[in-house]
């Protein structure tokens, strides 16, 4: 129920913002004519076609609530509207969403592997060489913003590496595909792994430190000492008493960082030419495409809510004391 209310509030806010953007920035229909000055009737026809012919779009400060109500009514009947050139929003989402979800999957796996694995190793060897090494890596990662990493990767590494792989293993080998300079629709998984890995890396650094810190807390906790004194093996203690118990803050962080990853997705998708939600949303905001923005954000809100829900369930799995009725 709360989720539905949040969604409604988000949609209303977006509606108001995009409406204001149109009122302030002038008519998006004018952009349709480029450098040519259209006649009044030509402009009128295009405004009508774009659904911008309502008088409220010309009055600054008018919230255009009638338009919002109409949109909600359309949504209720399963009509999610079209972009300015008549392409259905559902069609755009159907093309873009799978790619973004693929990217998010790779990112999440990278976080878990990098964060959990390296964080655990650092905690296990606290103060020793592996710990210092891993902490140094995490600082290095922080020093490189994702767009710098992608830029360097795309313009310096992809061409020689994919060329060498293609010569050595063949044009369609996994190696050649992995290092392609851009996303390819023919190999949607292989070509998204490295971009996802790079995007995941940038998110992994804070994650890694969080894992390390929360595990260190557990190494000295009473229940761990009890487990050791019972004579349990070190491996068993680490896996079931330390890693599992320190996972709760980590899982919470996954939920939050997930939302943050969308910002990174805009950059990654743009750079690697992935047709995804981030890039489409970015373009739609620039062009004041109200229906696309609201449609996309509603969908992303739903995804975020689902992830948060999954996080809540994981709490119960990880900590038997937490139970939902």
């Amino acid at each position: 129920m709360q989720g539905v209310f949040t969604l409604f509030a988000v949609m209303l806010l977006l509606h108001l913002l995009t409406t204001l953007a149109i009122q302030l920035n002038g008519n998006p229909a004018l952009a349709f004519f480029g450098d040519r000055a259209p006649s009044k009737s030509q402009l009128e026809a295009v405004e009508k076609r774009f659904g911008l012919d309502d008088v409220c779009y010309d009055q600054i400060g008018n919230p255009c609530l009638a338009q919002f109500g109409k949109r909600l009514g359309d949504y209720a009947t399963g009509d999610f509207g079209t972009d300015l050139r008549g392409r259905a929003v559902t069609d755009i989402v159907a093309t873009a969403a799978p790619n973004t979800l693929r990217l998010f999957l790779v990112v999440t796996i990278t976080w878990l592997i990098m964060g959990m694995f390296l964080g655990s190793v650092a905690a296990r060897f606290r103060g020793k060489a592996p710990d210092h090494g891993i902490r140094l890596i995490s600082i290095l990662i922080d020093a490189f913003p994702v767009f710098v990493m992608l830029l360097v990767y795309k313009f310096i590494f992809t061409v020689p590496i994919s060329g060498w792989m293609a010569d050595t293993f063949g044009k369609d080998s996994l190696g050649a595909l992995l290092f392609k300079p851009s996303f390819s629709r023919d190999a949607p998984w292989a070509t998204i792994i490295v971009p996802g890995l790079l995007l995941g890396l940038t998110g992994a650094a804070p994650f890694l430190r969080l894992v390390r810190a929360s595990q260190l807390e557990n190494y000295n906790a009473d229940h761990v000492r009890t487990a050791r004194s019972k004579g349990l093996g070190e491996r068993h203690v680490t896996l079931f008493h330390i890693v599992r118990n320190s996972s709760i803050p980590v899982v919470t962080a996954v939920g939050f960082v997930f939302a943050e990853a969308l910002a990174g997705a805009v950059i990654t998708e743009g750079m690697m030419n992935i047709y995804g939600m981030g890039g489409v949303l970015w373009g739609a905001v620039q062009d004041s495409q109200v229906s696309v923005v609201i449609g996309m954000v509603s969908l992303l809100s739903i995804i975020t809510i689902v992830v948060m829900f999954a996080v809540d369930i994981l709490y119960a799995v990880l900590d038997p004391r937490i139970r939902y009725d």
Binding site: L24, N25, G26, N27, L30, A31, F33, G34, D35, R36, A37, S39, K40, S41, Q42, L43, E44, A45, V46, E47, K48, R49, V55, D58, Q59, R85, G86, R87, I92, T95, A96, K154, F155, T158, V159, S162, G163, M165, D167, T168, F169, G170, K171, D172, S173, L174, G175, A176, L178, K180, P181, S182, S184, R185, G270, M271, N273, Y275, G279, G283
Partner: protein, 549 residues
């Protein structure tokens, strides 16, 4: 032990990497085998529609060039039109035109390409409420106005429809018989045949009209290629139409386009995934220093003119011709191009692109030469620039253009001592339409069809002696008279000369400052040769492109 497991891991990785290659050995290049000759190209912007009446950007025009055949096509070198689907286009008075079609051409769905197929496309485009991008091409047709309805603008700038259009068809357009069309224009226009090869004049099948939305995604063409699949925003593919009867068709049989949005396709070209490419400014230097790459490079002047306009409707100092000349002579065009957009622009010294369209010659703008001393003198003659005031330079929001105009502003400041303020605004076009500029502003003109007339009428002619034209407030009787003389000329060559004279009149008035013309550059892969760039649009001429594998 450790070393061994490392080696094993490496071996496993190698296997994985080689993985799905399965026989991916040298020579296993499937694209050249079995006559499957595929050309792979990039589309650099989000293509939104493939409907000819609605296609007005370089990319969908480029795609439709191989999907549709028009009445005329343009010569790759001179851009002069020659008949293709048309047997003959003629007129005795240059007002009423008779178009004879070659018989027996069909659409890819079997429908005939007849007079009616052209008429239905043109009527659809000309009907105002359809909101087609190429609507304005039919302004010269008799009956155009009756198809637009009557609109009225109130004080808030709100446009309301007073009256629905009276007609759904152009009264000046008549289908005489299946191979004959007559067109009546509102006045004589000798350049009419030149317009007919443009995308907006392609024919459409009845099946296309019945399902406009479907046709915008999967066109029913009459050209050598048909669109197989279009995943909008991602990729598009076309294959050769087996029953094509025309003569101009390339030697390859498949085209694959990948759409790029915002990102550069240059590394993809370098990696061999695309057959043509152009480097971004940051890679320009290294690409041009690579002997292997430059051995497969073509350069050709494009047709888009970037120029500075002034609000002549605002009065002094903009109305002072010496002031405008001062600005023009203060700008070192070559220097700013080398600095900001190397290889992508060439300095302009005319209002019509030289050698790009009939009638275009270099040097019509004598004061487009960089001469800081003469610039200072001209400014003094104009009475100087008000002290302490900044010259506003307005433009739309675009990173490359902002850099470019910042460099222009710096030149003005350096050579004339006029401080400037860059004003990139998202509502640039709205403000331009409302005449709300106070300072210089960016303009860009890309002609709609290859004729010098097109550079002159759209941006400068209005017939309104009192207010001048919409965007500048410019009016010159001598200039408009020359244009009218050109329109009435007995043949195209005479007309072109008259239009040239009109350009000279324009040069006398010096309403705007030409800065640069676009320059088209393409690098190409070893898979293709005979890469010819269209002097008009700058895109690769797909019908001339030769696949060598």
């Amino acid at each position: 032990m450790k070393a061994r497991s490392l080696a094993a891991a490496a071996a496993a990785l190698t296997l994985l990497v080689a993985g799905c290659g399965g026989g991916g050995n040298p020579g296993g290049d499937t694209s050249s085998a079995g006559g499957d000759k595929t050309v792979r190209l990039a589309l650099t912007q989000d293509v939104e529609t493939l409907l000819p009446m609605d296609s007005n950007v370089g990319d969908n025009i480029g795609v439709l060039e191989v999907v549709y055949d028009g009445l005329v096509r343009y010569d790759a070198q001179s851009t002069k039109p020659y008949n293709y689907i048309a047997e003959d286009v003629s007129s005795t008075d240059k007002t009423t035109w008779t178009i004879k079609l070659k018989p027996d051409f069909t659409f890819q769905n079997g429908e005939p390409v007849d007079a009616a197929s052209f008429a239905r496309a043109w009527n659809y485009a000309a009907y105002g409420p359809n909101g087609m991008a190429n609507n304005y091409f039919f302004e010269r047709f008799v009956g155009y106005d009756e198809m637009q309805g009557v609109t009225e603008e109130d004080d808030d700038g709100k446009i309301t429809v007073q009256e629905e259009p009276k007609a759904k068809e152009l009264s000046g357009l008549k289908v005489v018989d299946p191979t004959t069309l007559t067109v009546e224009l509102t006045g004589p226009f000798v350049g009419f045949p030149t317009m007919l090869g443009y995308t907006g004049f392609f024919p459409i099948a009845q099946a296309c009209l019945d399902d406009i939305e479907g046709c915008a995604k999967k066109p029913i063409g009459n050209g050598p290629f048909q669109i197989d699949q279009w995943e909008q925003g991602v990729r598009m593919s076309a294959s050769k139409w087996a029953d094509y009867k025309g003569s101009e068709t390339p030697n390859y049989n498949k085209i694959e386009w990948t759409e790029y949005k915002g990102s550069s396709s240059w590394p993809d070209f370098q990696a061999g995934d695309l057959d043509t490419g152009a480097p971004p400014p940051s890679e320009w230097q290294s690409a041009n220093n690579d002997p292997d790459l430059t051995s497969r490079k073509v350069v050709r002047p494009g047709a888009a003119l970037t120029y500075i306009g002034f609000p002549l409707y605002k009065g002094a100092p903009y109305t002072n011709i010496e002031f405008r000349k001062a600005i023009s002579m203060a700008i070192d065009r070559q220097a700013i191009i080398d600095q900001v957009l190397p290889g992508q622009e060439v300095p302009a010294d005319s209002w019509v692109v030289p050698n790009g369209v009939p009638g275009g010659v270099a040097g019509t703008c004598a004061d487009c030469k960089f001469d800081p001393t003469a610039a200072k003198a001209a400014l003094a003659k104009a009475g100087g620039w008000p002290k302490g005031q900044k010259l506003k330079i307005s433009l739309g929001q675009d990173d490359a253009n902002e850099q470019y105009f910042q460099a222009i502003g710096n030149q003005i400041k350096l050579n004339l001592g006029i401080d400037y303020e860059l004003d990139p605004a998202p509502d640039f076009f709205a403000r331009r339409a409302a005449r709300k500029f106070d300072g210089a502003f960016r303009n860009n003109w890309f002609p709609d069809y290859p004729l010098n007339e097109n550079y002159l009428v759209g941006p400068y002619a209005s017939g309104d002696a009192k207010n001048g034209n919409d965007t500048l407030g410019f009016y010159s009787k001598a200039f408009e008279d020359k244009l009218a003389e050109g329109d009435k000329a007995p043949d195209l060559d005479t007309a072109v000369t008259k239009y040239q004279e009109a350009e000279q009149e324009l040069a006398k008035e010096f309403p705007t400052v030409p800065i640069s013309f676009s320059q088209s550059v393409a690098f190409y892969s070893e898979n293709v040769d005979n890469v010819v760039l269209d002097p008009f649009s700058g895109s690769t001429k797909l019908r001339l492109l030769n696949y060598v594998g």
